[in-house]
């Protein structure tokens, strides 16, 4: 999708999409959201993956101080009585080619249920229903400023650009305690998925990939590209997922993803080729009381680049456990992340070894609501990681990175 558009046209398209949705025929008044997040950052991290390095965090020692977290515009409207449209646009104020860009834009058809079963169809660009952490509008997390490693990657490289069909069993509305849902999706424009994970390892940021944007400002040792969402092989991928819910106290999600990329198709204009990426993810969220939320998620997969005998392959796994306590205007959250990427096949003549990176990280966050529209958050992330490619940038393989953030957020 990205290469079909000149970069300069993308923000105009993003804005036009939002405005077109606002201007579309509607039955009811629409919902428009605006969020502004400003940060004071102190970081001793090595050069961030977002600045072309191999650091795991969003900010590094050269890019801290006063920063724009994000400006977010959200739109929810209605095309017909059972068809909602959603558009999310965001500006991060960093290196990206577009000052304002879309992260999601889709239509959601939900006919009224006439019994225990209901069908849903989503068409457009949207997140697969995988994260148990990113449950605020704009796919943000209410628990921490920085997403888990697993959901950082999903936010960076994955988007369903296509259609998804879901069949829901509405147990609660039928006097039962359980609810269940199954979804299948077919999508295109996700052939580079896996590139960032394989070349830079896992990261922990809250910087989502935008539909017409780029990843990283420069970037040794693998070049400066990455158009996130492109369809090089014209072959659709798919995922299938299932959800079980019990009375709002328990939610279990599982998903299998395969972008079915045809290996060996190259796109010189974006300096990339197709990446065949597959993974499984399982997640659990428990809400045993109105104060306490526990979340755990695990993801494991493989990604391949190029055909044999020139094939490269990586195996990757990520997981986290999060606990959050909410008391009045306060929310206290802590998360532990574990992540790992290992190259299993290599055709890189200039690398005499198989690449590998792994690590773990602690995140602690305190958030306080200041009235209806304001939030203040303090967060600390400490990441201990190793990456065999760091010596190519003159850095030690093992790094301990620490990042403090004070965020002030306003939204309405």
């Amino acid at each position: 999708m990205g290469r079909l558009l000149k970069p300069a046209g993308a923000p105009a398209l993003a804005l036009a999409t939002v405005l077109a949705l606002v201007g579309a025929p509607r039955v009811q008044a629409d919902e428009l959201d605006l969020s502004v997040d400003l940060r004071a950052v102190s970081s001793d991290a090595t050069t961030s993956r977002l600045n072309g390095g191999l650091g795991t965090l969003r900010y590094d020692a050269q890019h801290d101080g006063l920063r724009l977290g994000y400006v977010r515009l959200g739109y929810r409207g209605e095309l017909a009585p059972t068809v909602r449209v959603v558009a999310e646009a965001v500006a991060y104020g960093d290196h990206d080619v577009n000052a304002l860009d879309l992260t999601e834009a889709y239509a959601d058809w939900r006919p009224f249920p006439s019994g225990a079963w209901r069908s849903r169809v989503k068409v457009g660009a949207f997140y697969p229903e995988i994260s148990l952490e990113n449950r605020m509008r704009g796919w943000r997390s209410p628990y921490t400023l920085t997403y888990s490693a697993v959901n950082t990657w999903i936010g960076e490289e994955l988007r369903t650009i296509g259609g998804e069909y879901s069949l829901d069993w509405l147990g609660l509305a039928n006097g039962h305690s359980w609810e269940a849902s199954a979804s299948v999706a077919a999508f295109g424009w996700n052939d580079p998925a896996g590139t960032v994970l394989a070349t830079r390892g896992w990261g922990m940021t809250d910087r989502q990939g935008t539909l017409f944007g780029r990843f990283a400002n420069g970037g040794q040792p693998f070049g400066s590209r990455t158009v996130f969402y492109d369809d090089l092989d014209k072959r659709p991928g798919y995922y299938a997922s299932g959800v079980l819910k019990w009375r709002g106290l328990l939610e279990l999600r599982a998903l299998h993803y395969d972008n079915r990329a045809r290996l060996g198709v190259e796109a010189p204009q974006i300096r990339d080729a197709t990446w065949l990426t597959r993974f499984e993810s399982v997640g659990l969220r428990l809400t045993p009381s109105e104060h306490l939320t526990l979340v755990g998620q695990w993801l494991h997969g493989r990604t391949f680049e190029d055909q044999l005998p020139n094939r490269n392959a990586w195996s990757y796994a990520g997981s986290f456990a999060l606990a959050s306590w909410k008391q009045g205007p306060w929310r206290w959250s802590a998360r532990w992340d574990r992540f790992d990427v290992r190259q299993t096949e290599s055709s890189f003549e200039y690398l005499p070894f198989l690449t590998a990176s792994d690590g773990h990280a602690w995140t602690a966050s305190v958030d306080r609501a200041l009235g209806e529209h304001w939030h203040a958050t303090v967060e600390c992330v400490r990441s201990d990681s190793s990456n065999l490619l760091r010596p190519y940038l003159g850095q030690a393989v093992a790094q301990r990175e620490q990042q403090w953030q004070l965020a002030l957020r306003w939204e309405r």
Binding site: V27, P81, R84, P113, R137, P142, D168, S177, R247, G248
Partner: protein
Amino acid sequence: MSNRFLKLLNFARYKAREMHPRFHRLALCVTASTVLAGLAARACAGELSVTVRSAAGSAVDGALVVAEPAQPAPRPAAAQHAIMDQRNLQFVPDLLVVRTGALIEFPNSDQVRHQVYSFSGAKNFQLPLYAGRTQPPVAFDKPGLVTLGCNIHDNMIGFIYVSDTPWYGRTSADGTLKIRDLPPGDYTLRVWHPLIDETGPQLEQRVVVGENATVTFRLQRALRQPLMHHGADKKWEDY
């Protein structure tokens, strides 16, 4: 005794006086005896004391108890008006009890829009996506339990019980309820709770109301866990 019935008696008495003075005296006698009978019935109106206990023997708070007379209860002269609000992604109250024929309004007090529906046998209806107080009231003209849902927020569940009788109530925290002013007669008592997880004869009892009657219901299974409600403002958006 209803005003309509008294008017009917007065009309009969007037017509009788037109026909013959003897009939007029007879009509006067009938009127007086009917009024006295009504007063006597009220004087010996019964009271039901109901207790609902869980399987473990503890008090059940908020159980609905409905007393259905053997003879159909008179319908109210005018349709009842009631409100089922939507606040913090919940229906408020969780259970609304109305008389058959009631008109219920569904205001949305949240910052997000809701899409209310029910496919229950007692009332099948849908309201389009809306905010505020834009939807006209909905008539509930069949007795029974109506389960409400929101097509956008699946965790929003509410209940409306449409009753043919005026004798109902919900138990207090100590699991008890008093239903007063019941005319003497045979009644079927039914108990229901939004968290009930059972069906069967233990939820129904027959009782004869003379002056007073005491009834205890004992559930056989534990109540379900209350629904956990999550984010309550427009910033939240679960899948």
